[in-house]
């Protein structure tokens, strides 16, 4: 047992931190988030061309770096800390995981090198219901010769308006729950797809709505286990859930750090307000939440690695993902909210960054299920004798 970063993993984290400190400044974040695209294409070129981050956990046979989820999580934590505006999460944590878990060999050979080359991508599985489990899949697929026809819509899709490649989930007509689900990989300019950017309260994470009107897809677009793809999709979602939690961990940490820094500067009644016990105790509680989040996220990252390597410990993934997401969602919201309170009046201004963390805390909390959703998932496993799904 050695539950700490290796030297190589520390180096990856430190490199990510140093790079993001330089490129994902407050000014850069504010410039990117004000656009509909949501990111600076020049920065995305540097990330994919110079840093090669998009390739981190893609196996070497597809041109990737062949590293694991712990390395990925180490970078995601820094991206959350610096509020990175980029299609990294959607491309790597949604679409790439989908291809790794559910792609046919042909699809992996075709699309993974494209992603390594800088192509952006996303996963669309949720409809309008607001749920995040199997019942969220609302898009309907009808068998049409060798291929399928897709009809319906998807909502809350990260970078859905800009992604250059789509993985979508659809279900057979009249199927319910975990039954009848298939996954498809297709180009967003396929005839019949309409994409619409949805303005969001958290402007650092872009969302879109996708409309499918008689979209014809060929057999080559169908991913593994057609009609029975829920277990694959469930694993993809769990992996993506661990990744959001890592972003939240970084955000929680920065909410704490920037708040403590402010507390050390602000003077009232003739002393820095960091010296007041009422304030110190709030900051201490924030640190407890950060460190507990860290333990949950790193543990889940180790389990995700086991999942990707098909080892026995991987069966814990649904549980570890729910533990991490439930805890980190509440912790980030708490820390960002307490951060505003401790900043006092300036915390309510647009100028200070704590408001950006407060908004990202809420959007990441909602995405892929909030604390209550994941606690109920664990409760089913603990109390109803079901495995978390």
């Amino acid at each position: 047992m050695d539950f700490k970063f290796t030297e190589e993993q520390e180096m990856i984290r430190d490199t990510a931190q140093a790079f993001l400190a330089e490129v994902s400044t407050s000014a850069a974040v504010r410039a990117a988030m004000a656009t509909e695209l949501g990111y600076d294409p020049a920065l995305w070129s540097r990330i994919t061309g110079e840093m090669f981050w998009q390739a981190i956990h893609i196996p070497e046979q597809y041109g990737g770096m062949g590293l694991g989820y712990v390395e990925l999580v180490a970078m995601l934590e820094q991206m959350g800390r610096y509020l990175l505006c980029a299609p990294f999460y959607s491309t790597v944590c949604l679409a790439t995981n989908a291809l790794l878990i559910a792609g046919t060999e042909e699809q992996k050979e075709r699309y993974l090198p494209q992603i390594v080359g800088g192509t952006t991508a996303t996963l669309a599985y949720t409809g309008n219901s607001g749920g995040w489990d199997a019942s969220a899949v609302e898009l309907i697929c009808l068998a049409d010769g060798e291929g399928f026809t897709l009809n319906g819509s998807c909502r809350y899709i990260p970078d859905g308006h800009s992604a250059q490649l789509l993985v979508v989930a659809a279900r057979e007509q009249h199927s319910v729950g975990e039954q009848g689900i298939s996954l498809f990989v297709l180009a967003p300019d396929t005839a019949g797809i309409t994409r619409r950017w949805l303005p969001t309260m958290d402007q650092t994470r872009k969302q879109a709505e996708l409309q499918f009107d008689n979209v014809s897809v060929t057999a080559s677009a169908v991913m593994r286990s057609p009609g029975e793809a829920w277990p694959l999709l469930a694993t993809i979602i769990d992996l993506a859930t661990v990744a959001v939690a890592a972003d939240q961990l970084g955000g929680s940490q920065q909410a704490l750090d920037s708040t403590v820094q402010y507390l050390q500067e602000r003077v009232q009644f003739g002393r820095v307000i960091a010296s007041y016990q009422a304030v110190k105790h709030k900051a201490a509680d924030m640190m407890v939440k950060v460190e507990a989040s860290r333990s949950a996220v790193y543990y889940a990252a180790c389990i995700a690695d086991e999942t990707l390597q098909n080892s026995a410990l991987g069966v814990e993934l649904p549980e570890a993902a729910s533990v991490a997401k439930a805890y980190c969602s509440d912790a980030y919201f708490h820390n960002a909210g307490t951060g505003i309170q401790l900043h006092g009046g300036v915390g309510f201004t647009a100028e200070y960054d704590i408001q950006l963390y407060f908004k990202r805390a809420k959007s990441t909390e909602t995405f892929l299920g909030d604390g209550a959703f994941h606690r109920e998932r664990l409760a089913r496993q603990l109390l109803d004798g079901e495995t978390a799904a």
């Binding site: 403590v260 016990q277 105790h281 900051a283 201490a284 640190m287 507990a292 860290r294 606690r375 409760a379």
Partner: protein, 395 residues
Amino acid sequence: MKLSFSAQDELFREEIALWLADNLCGDFEQIRGRGGPGDEHMFVPERSAWERQLYTGGWTCIGWPVEHGGRGASIEQQVIFHEEYARAGGPGRIGHIGETLAGPTILAFGSEQQKQRFLPGILRGEEFWCQGYSEPSAGSDLANVKTKAQFDEQSDQWKISGQKVWTSLAHESQYCFVIARTDPNSVGHRGLGFFLVAMDQPGISVVPIEQLTGTCEFNEVFFDEAVCSAQDIVGAPGEGWKVAMGLLGFERGVSTLGQQMLFRNEFDEIVAVAKKNGAAKNPAIRQRIADAYIGLKIMRANSMRILSGGDSGELQKEAMMYKLYWATWHRNLGKLAMDVLGPESEILDSGPYQLNRLQSMYLFTRSDTIYGGTNQIQRNIIAERALGMPREPRG
């Protein structure tokens, strides 16, 4: 980052698990799962015999160096020992203060003579220790110790007078380590001495404290010119604080995974009750049970971080937050247990005041967030040492 233990460590796990299965039976069956927090006063003779049984198997003081009778077990192996011990329902260890606090202090700061004299009794499970730190006016402010130690040239002995409080196992212990003021004009952490004091002497009297549980794990200990020979002070007079603080560093979290196994047993008991009485269908209870489970899983991962030594050169924040985290979690678990039990939570096993295990846990956990540094003190420590915020002004 790696979660699994080595093959060698897994063999060690089998060895201790097998030994426990072979030995924690027969006469010892009745003390399975007994003597933990809230139950420390129970089955004292049987648990004393169990300490000697552990010694015959070579399972006391396994982390001590081989030359002093230990196994020189690695951190991983100590973790495994604690985990398997808790899994098997091993009883609360009467010898734990000697093994984990007094012994390591003597090993680190004691004289050769002190090692020869005190370590074998701890190792063999024959001599038990208690801790003489807290006083009526020295709780969170531990340095405010008033107990005095005066050296008597004539008898070549220290004479100790004062009062200690919250001393668990004082009745059952042969020795007590005591911090007392060697310099009567000193204040705060200066001018203290660290003494190894025999309990069986006319100058010491022990008075049990009845707690809100109706039981008496803790005691007051009164010292009235209690004697301690000149050679039984650890370190020099005036260095007691350094020795006492060094002692706090010995725990290193090896017992935390065992502690969590006990928590897991309590959690499982609550889940079983909830399934049986229907509370498991109540959405609010479901959320809280899941939340408790999340806390358990995080504690385990957190302990693994502590034991792995953290990032190079970084302050171990995960260690500093640990007490605040588990104590608060456990206190909440106690409340959850009662809420799951519903109206049955009020009904005792028998009169006049025989609490069942969950009731006892519920009441006892109110002390978790107080002893060993209150939650408020823990928050001060975190804010000041981990976050670098200004220190509290001292009176």
